[in-house]
Symmetry: C2
Subunit: 477 residues, 2 copies
């Protein structure tokens, strides 16, 4: 069992060490300082570690930092600089919010509430689940926790209610519900800074590489129009492709009603979570407008305020905070990657890469360069099993290349950031939630990949066609 | 039960808020900027929170940081700067080392090993327990975990083996063993940078306030001579004062032998811990000497190396790391306090305080000033129930006052740092371990306070008399 999950752990460590040593000893190309080249060697081995996983993500990142410090490539302070990052602590706070949504049962209640309202037909059921995912997205920064943790059990029980199990009966309704819920999460992850764990990492990288400052509200506003359009189109597309046999689902609404009756009225704790989150979202989204007295409040400060209120109202205890393993895990790996990626950029390597690739694209219009970069970035996810690994490896060099080719930095950063989540549609190994939904067994590879590819085309049309029109209206470029 | 432990939670929050608001609105004294004064208001309310504990320590610190950010007193980056501190991550690593010592049983094995060797007489039994505490001290940065967690159960079972229970039979041997083990931990905490959780905080503060850089090796070498002398004298002093009725304890050595037999030979994991710790200590202690190839390795980098090896050797899993609640707790409260205390100093408040107090000591020799400051600092612990609260409140201003009076900064910083642990001898509410040992019920208040006071006099003689001679020999001042 254990050997099945970690075959050849030593071999994988060996491969990564060999990669690091080989790059380390290779002569750096002209214009790259030795320090930057050494850090690149350690960085690439670390990203390789996120892919090969000889040890859990956090352990791999700590090993990378340790190697950088002990070889004198980074000072201790530089190696730890990511842990001072406000976005890192925003993610930790969001994990604690997610815990409140789970602990109080508010997440499930929201899902059943939408099903009660809109779940009378199969397509409406798909939209109900999608709406629940959308509402929860700003507060649960992990697709695995949100779509996999909160929604998957609801979807699974709906399938069983319609005798739709893995196998032939999956065509009744299960395949449609599973694929819709999974695919919609690619959209919701892209729509909010706090909806996906690697989103804040890109904010950090964009600041470092392209000098643009993406705020919580700025992200949400830019994503809103293409987000809503693809949110509306996606379930219909899946519905047409998958053709569920059951079309009307009055029993689902009835089942939701029963679940809601069983839950009883909202508890004091659920109301507290609702009120605190409502306040946090208002402050996040309105923090941009200078006219308001709270303009300029840092989003992490607002999140800390929400956390303090949840602690004071005893919705969450300090013990809960210390138990939030996913949050501490994100702190460790996220902070460490921020340190390394930031230092790579400060040492000039990202810029050098952009100049290098740009050399092959001389004479191109920046729009052409952007289109090629985004498509390569999107479909490169066929080769990744983690959004974070993808982002860490490709976001900074691709952004630097786009900017060097003349693309407006804010526009380029946002487009790449959105496609960092949208790309999860492609495969059944795209990340944590795909493992959950694929593992349920309602779809075969052909079904998943063809729907995934069709949806990726939808995303390209909406986010690369409609998106820029909206961003131009906003005056982003 | 819950109301008994937290009476009037709201009242306590109210008192702290009132303190903060009152100071905030009071006009700052001349020479203090408004920002510094506002931060002082929040800082004093936070320290008040560590004492009154309306919420757990970590929660109080987060509330303090949030207040500082939302009022615009600190920027988000300044509020989080403590989380980049290498000493904060050194403490997190040390908590993980402590977990390995506990998990593998190596800590208990070491205790029984010493009892087997030296535990044939009552006094020797006291030294055996003391030696175990000394050996474990550099790797377990929490008196509560080390002396309370590893050693207390051993002491308790020894007492029972001699039919010495709370009440009259405590005089047989229990009172002596309990007091000796507790009191020796005040010495071991003072001897190593990584032996007490607030020690690294003082290193940060000393750097900020007095510009001195105290290293792991520098601390250990300076503490060694007064540490060893008080380590030898302390059990004898307790022995004379407490007069245990049982003088010879051949059964204890036999009991230890049986326990060791039951444990069997050292496991692969225990050997791994021993080897890794041995290596880490050698690197820590020898990192100072320029002639060695590894001179200048940062202690936190060395600790990370140890952690990586323990992960690779599978002594500790990444799940264990994420489960280390005490470590995450220390990260949160420690990092936040470092942020606030550092910013108070950078905003000039600590310096202003030193000048203010110094005004009353004009014309004094610096040695006189130091003597008064250290005695006040030591006996002020009658008013604290936590070493960390004591350190956070008093260390920086006392150090600044000493330096302003002409005391050599390194000398002043080390002396105050040592007495920050030694002061725990005084009361049964001095900190976490005192709650454990007092709670066992082997001593009455009179016994504890008289022994505690006598030992504090021993500490004054050894650490203020002998200590400076040793430090002068070392050329520290």
């Amino acid at each position: 069992m254990s050997t099945q999950r970690t075959p050849n752990r030593t071999l994988r460590f060996g491969v990564l060490a060999a990669v690091a040593v080989a790059i380390w000893w290779a002569p750096p190309p002209e214009g790259v300082q030795a320090e930057a080249w050494q850090l690149l060697a350690i960085f690439l081995a670390t990203i390789g570690g996120l892919i090969l996983q000889p040890a859990p993500m956090g352990a791999v990142v700590i090993m990378g930092l340790t190697a950088a410090v002990l070889t004198g490539t980074l000072s201790m302070a530089d190696a730890l600089l990511g842990y001072q990052s406000a976005t890192v602590w925003l993610i930790v706070s969001a994990f604690l919010f997610a815990r409140c949504l789970n602990k109080t049962g508010l997440g499930r209640r929201i899902a059943f509430r939408f099903i009660r309202w809109f779940g009378h037909k199969t397509l409406g059921l798909g939209y109900s689940l999608s709406l629940a995912d959308l509402v929860l997205a700003p507060g649960i920064p992990s697709g695995t926790a949100r779509t996999g943790g909160v929604l998957f059990p609801v979807v699974r029980s709906l399938c069983s209610a319609y005798d739709s199990e893995p196998g032939p009966s999956s065509k009744r309704i299960g395949e449609f519900l599973m694929l819709t819920t999974y695919q919609i999460h690619c959209v919701t992850c892209a729509m909010f800074l706090t909806a996906m764990v690697a989103n804040p990492l890109m904010v950090e990288l964009a600041r470092e590489v392209a000098g643009v400052d993406i705020t919580w509200a700025g992200w949400a506003i830019a994503a809103s129009v293409p987000g809503i359009v693809s949110f509306i189109a996606l379930p219909i597309l899946v519905y047409i492709m998958v053709k569920p046999q059951i079309r009307r689902t009055p029993e689902a609404a009835e089942l939701a009603r029963e679940e809601l009756v069983r839950m009883g009225p909202m508890s004091r704790q659920e109301l507290a979570v609702l009120a605190v989150f409502g306040g946090v979202f208002v402050l996040w989204i309105s923090g941009e407008w200078d006219a308001l007295p709270w303009s300029g409040l840092p989003p992490t400060g607002v999140a800390f305020l929400g956390l303090c209120l949840l602690l004071i109202l005893e919705v969450i205890s300090w013990d809960d905070v210390l138990d939030e393993r996913a949050g501490w895990n994100a702190l460790v790996w996220f902070g460490g990657l921020v340190s390394m990626a930031t230092m790579l950029s400060r040492l000039g390597l990202t810029e050098w890469f952009a100049g290098f690739v740009g050399g092959y694209m001389q004479g191109w219009e920046w729009l052409e360069v952007m289109a090629v970069l985004v498509l390569v970035y999107l479909y490169a996810h066929y080769f990744f099993a983690s959004l974070t690994a993808h982002v860490t490896a490709l976001f900074a060099p691709f952004l630097a290349t786009a900017v060097a080719a003349g693309a407006p930095p804010y526009f380029a950063a946002l487009t790449l950031a959105f496609f960092s989540s949208l790309c999860a549609s492609l495969t059944h190994y795209a990340g944590g939630p795909s493992a959950v939904f694929w593992g349920a067994g309602y779809t075969d590879i052909k079904g998943w990949w063809s729907v995934g590819f069709a949806i990726s085309v939808l995303f390209v049309v909406v986010w690369m066609g409609l998106g820029p029109l909206w961003w131009r209206t906003l005056g982003l470029f």
